[in-house]
Amino acid sequence: MSLFLIVALPFLGALLPGLMNSAGRQACAGLTFTVSLAAFIGLLTNLPAVLAGDVVTARVDWIPSLGMNFTLMLDGLGFFFAFLILGIGLLIIAYARSYLARDDNMGEFFTYLLLFQGAMVGIVLSDNILLLLVFWELTSLSSFLLIGYWKHLPEGRQGARMALTVTGMGGLSMIGGMLILGQIAGSYDLSVILQNRDLIQADPLYVPALLLILLGCFTKSAQFPFHFWLPHAMAAPTPVSAYLHSATMVKAGIFLMARMWPVLSGTPEWFVIVTTAGLLTMVIGAVIALFKHDLKALLAFSTVSHLGLITMLLGTGTTFGAMAAVFHILNHATFKAALFMSAGIVDHEAHTRDIRRLGGLRHLMPITFVIATIAALSMAGIPFLNGFLSKEMMLEEATHTTLFGAWWLVPALATFGSLFSAAYCFRLIGHTFLGPVRDDYPTKPHDPGAGMWLPPAILVVLVVVIGVAPFLVQDFVFLVAKSVIGGVGELEVKYIKIWHGLVPALFMSIAAVVGGLLLMTVFNPALRMWDAAPRPEAKTIFEALIAAVVALAERVIHGLHNGAFSRYGAIMAVTVIGAGYYAWATGSVAAATREMQPITPMAAAGWLMLVAATLGMVFLHRNRLLSLILIGITGLMVSVGFVFFSAPDLAMTQITVEVVTIILLLLALNFLPNRTPLESTVMRRTRDAAIAVAGGLAAMGMAWHFLVREAVTSPISQFHLANSYKGGGGTNVVNVILVDFRGFDTYGEIIVLGIAALLIYALTETLLSGPVRARLLNRTPDQPRAGDMHPTMMVVLTRVMMPVVLMVGFYIFLRGHNEPGGGFIAGLVVSIAVVMQYMASGFGWTSARLRYPYHGIIGAGVLIAGLTGIGSWFVSKPFLTSDFTYVRIPPFQEFELATAALFDLGVFLAVVGAVMLSLESFSRLARRAHVKDPEHPMDIDPSRDDPQPVAVKEGV
């Protein structure tokens, strides 16, 4: 089966269980099992190739420019881990079916589990380290969901958050490490990186990369001092613990160390860091595990300890160590998954996991007893069980390892750790299963159904088979070990043997087991000593650390982001000015190359008006109506400036936009207070003025700077000028750029404009359907109303003007391609004509005559523009390629027909719709309850016999 399918199957399958909840628990579990089984069988189909020593690959380019490709590879190591992940996954799924209670949401559980499984398989099959990172982060996220599965338990939520924080942090640092590694090797493909051992180890950035990657591995694999999250993750349902902490999640860090072993190992840095961390973790985990009373906590710390053991073996950097590590990964996965599942059975049946409340279970749960005992003895390192074999190898390796110049250090610590390891295994068996039957269990335990004991039983069979007949897995272990080692060295051992003769490792092993038994005899005094001894509580430290970080973040955020908009504005302005000043002060300035153009009196007059209006606004802004008039002058002068500086299109756009903006602001001012109160202190106004002056000077300086210099490179405008007529068929270059050269931009812009209008409409709807509506309806205007709301003169005038304006709009639209004009301007002109009808004849009268809703007009505009663009696909051209031709209908002049005009029609409609929808929305707010919308265009009509409207008297 294709590697893609193996990785994709769990992800695709993850969609189903969540949806199938209503189909029942059996269906959910069955489906999940089938999906996993399919992936597992798919993996097995690749077994012959892997056994033959081939590397199966699959490749799809994803983002080649970043070096990120979807490349997968399956070698011995990848196969080994994928086998564990999918194989143990199958057992876990079967076990979880029986374990989960009736009110647990099973679909959700299996969805998370499959997501996690897919991410894990993705990690072990990735050939691209960036892809690997993606899957790595996915495991952090999906394990967060799994650990926090029991959302109602605070421990579950806290444990999940802690796991995510620690592993997520490690993931971040690993991204850094991987990027450095990729930079050194010149490729992000593992197959390339693994070939470049010498290059990478000689690079000065090797140590930073190593540290960052190891940080990721250590956090994931719970190595000291990041071991503390793992026991807290035990708040998860037991199937999750069994899965995450035996074969998968915590092994991801180990996997990565094994994967990177050929390039990263063998240096003194690697040896010291990895071996020390592993050794410390092994000893500390084993000691703590002995004194834990919760079965799962005991197993959690034993997992930490065993992960330390594997890490230490990888750290030694010898081929034997690598082989022993591989073998122990296999053995640990089998006995630890079985033990977790047994602990889950005890919890499930006795309703407690507290060792102090258990004991004597061998009579009540004989099957569980046998399973747990064999698995625990294997973990303790008793001969003829698989744990013994790999533990011997570890001790053997320890005797050859010298750390910090002391030959005795590693063997002594290894023996010490093994001793505690044996002791907690004996405690697990002795205090849970042996001893007299008690009568105070929370519920009377008995063996569960086969659904729960069969999965661990299968694993225990493996424990015994490997333990008795190691030659069965020997070739496979060597194959995996060889793919770990790569081309770095040769594997020297030829066989995995139970009996090695009277070697030091044997005596260390005996010392550990005997010492463990002796330790158990003095367990109670030892426990009292342990309880009395002060020791740091990792959770408290972690929480204090998090609280400190949160407090710091709060201080920073509350300083910057305290809900005062004026403060954000000031911070932003000062930052921008500061950044600009820094660039100015550190950059170099070229000499001026452009002659200044002489100032004409007319230009000076325009400038004077603009400056006077703007300054007037600043000083008189408390009178809002006045400032509105002044901003009108400013806008007018800007338009005039555009005409003056050869931009007729801009001038036309600016002046029409100015009209609708002023109308809009007038509508708003109808509701808002008409004066701004004086609130800020003199101090504050001085500060704001200083910022404003600095900002103004900066903008002026920058504008001045480039106005007197030529562009550094020749602008692309020359292309537009040269091709506007030839390629676009129009002489108005600005319009041709809008509808042709940069048509796609324009298309986006009309969509944005449409969205803005719809947003305004939606906000109006919200306001009118909420409590604001009543206030609006009962509002008494703070200004006297005009007596004649719809003056006859104005109504008549606007009616007469309407067809004229429409004609002008049509003319501007048509000539746009060759003369100043086009869809934008025509749209604004037509909008103004329609707005004038609203103003003169009233909202009710105009709305009644509206044929098409404005939403529809926006939509039609965007559709027409889009379809014009799509049209070019039919002649196999890219989106929005334009074409044109000249036609002549006899009585008229020859004129041009361009697809760009159709596009411009879309622009026109979108602009009309958007402007009108915005203004109409504002007007709707203004309708009041006690003033009826007149049905007639004029308030006073001599031909009617209306009673005088109330509004007439109200005002004057």
Partner: protein
Amino acid sequence: MELLVASAIGVLTGGGIYLMLRLRTFPVILGISLLTYAVNVFLFASGRLSIGGPPILRDGVEFYADPLPQALVLTAIVISFGMTAVVVMIALGAYLGADDDSVDDPAEPSTGEVK
């Protein structure tokens, strides 16, 4: 002439910043409008200033103003109308809902609780 345009941009920016830092919605909206003018003129001026050379192709004319900044600014002007309208609507909604047109949240002591 360059000096006039540059100083006009400066005045518009300064006035815009000052009004943007006021405490009520209406002057802030006017301030943003002034900044919009400043930015549009600034972008337009990046094509350098030319008088009497509109980018409308004519036979025999060799000199044209830079059309590209003009095209970019044209859409910017229209979009800025949409933006102003949305901001005005938000300001209006806030005022009608709370009967207060302050832009700053009322100062309240930080609770320090992030749970």
